[in-house]
Amino acid sequence: MLKKIECIIQPFKLEEVKEALKKIAVEGMTVTEVKGCGRQKGYKEEYPPDAPIRLLPKVKIEIVTEEEKVEKMIETIQSLARTNQIGAGKIFVIPVEDVIRIRTKERGRIAID
């Protein structure tokens, strides 16, 4: 079973996380600069209920991997992306139906190896 790990983290954590992922043999990843908010709606302090949502800059990393490697990756990302503050981000695990490597037409597990 293939899974996609999609994590949203603080931009300043990207460098560390990406190098650590390389060390645990992550082959490929896609990184996007994104904006978003969580429960605090982008505010660090108390905010009035009618305050507009503040979208803060974040980084999204997407990795497709085999199910057996998911926990190790979660552990790695979680330990490095922690800031001990709100807004450190989230990790989503999503089922992937299939993968196709365009150049070789390979499909499935071999397409990410």
């Binding site: 079973m1 199910e67 998911v70 926990e71």
Partner: protein, 420 residues
Amino acid sequence: MIKAEDKVRNPWYYALQQLDEVAELINLEPWIHKKLRHPRRELTVSIPVRMDSGEIEVFTGYRVQHCITPGPAKGGIRYDPDVTLDEIRALAMWMTWKCAVVGLPYGGAKGGVVCDPTKLSQDELERLTRRYTSEILIMIGPERDVPAPDINTNSQVMAWIMDTYSVDRGYSVPGVVTGKPVVLGGSLGREGATGKGVVFTLLNTLKYLDQSIEGKRVVIQGFGKVGSVVAHLLYKEGAKIIAISEIDGGIYNPEGLDPEKVMTHKKEAGSVVGYKDAEFITNEELFRLECDILIPAATENQITEENASEIRANLVVEAANGPTTPSADKILKERGIFVVPDILANAGGVTVSYFEWVQGMQGYFWSEREVNLKLRDIMTRAFHRVLEVSLKEKVDMRTAALMVAVSRIAEATRLRGLYP
């Protein structure tokens, strides 16, 4: 009828008392109440076993099906010198509630053999298991009653039961038991499932109480199939395991114990006692330790009216079955200690047993990750359902869990009606 002098620490008496209280709270119809007060079927068997010495010993075994209204009965088999019919009856009733509280399509059962497995050789244990299986064969089966491991029984014992049943039928029937070895149709993630379920429930409780697990001082009674898993997982989550005990005593270190090292010691020494980085404590002292979370993960009747007033934890999570006596429960309630009841907290084992049964019926097996995620899902849903009732009806979690469970069984009974 249970005589007054037998009421002391008789789990069947406690179980009936609990049912009576809940019946009143949910206005249970008298006929359903009466029906649920009586186990559906009980079988007492004599088990003659040829011992290694050549002599023949006769052991006594039981299988009780408390309820088969929602589906097949489900419940473990224990080998223990203290097994009594009343204990098995109570445990069977609790299995009915436990399956109902998490919403599994099962009734409740329990089995036991009066024996001391530490004094039996592996061969004697096998002969005992096979003869017991053959004696209760008329009661069990994938659509009738599905046993599972309990105290002093494991996946090997389940494999013997499965084999004995299959030989009788003339074909392999993996669905007759759960908790089997993986190669015989067991589920990944079954070992340790009860412990994992306890931890999911504990984390849900802390989330509700707006607390974090990190740095919490945890005391665990029992370091077997459940306690050791709970200790490992909570240690990984950042909790501080300050004391662990087993039947012969315990170990205490206010700075925290490393469960992995304790396990290494246990494997060498046969018990946690004697672990070098800790001081010895008795089981009684363990219950009186200053801590945040107390997890009884051994047997019944451990928190009693003698020690309940001295418990210094804010949160008690019952990993064992029936560890708190009703009078102790009242004391804990009065003292404002939050108790997560057994039928909710330790339902992870039977839930993964259910997954094993489902996978076996489908003949299609899931990954361990899938098992764990589905377990978390079911445990979390059950926790919130019980919490909701507890807040709405202003009752403690145990009463709420029983209300959820008894209501579900009552509804099934009502819908099926009474034959003829």
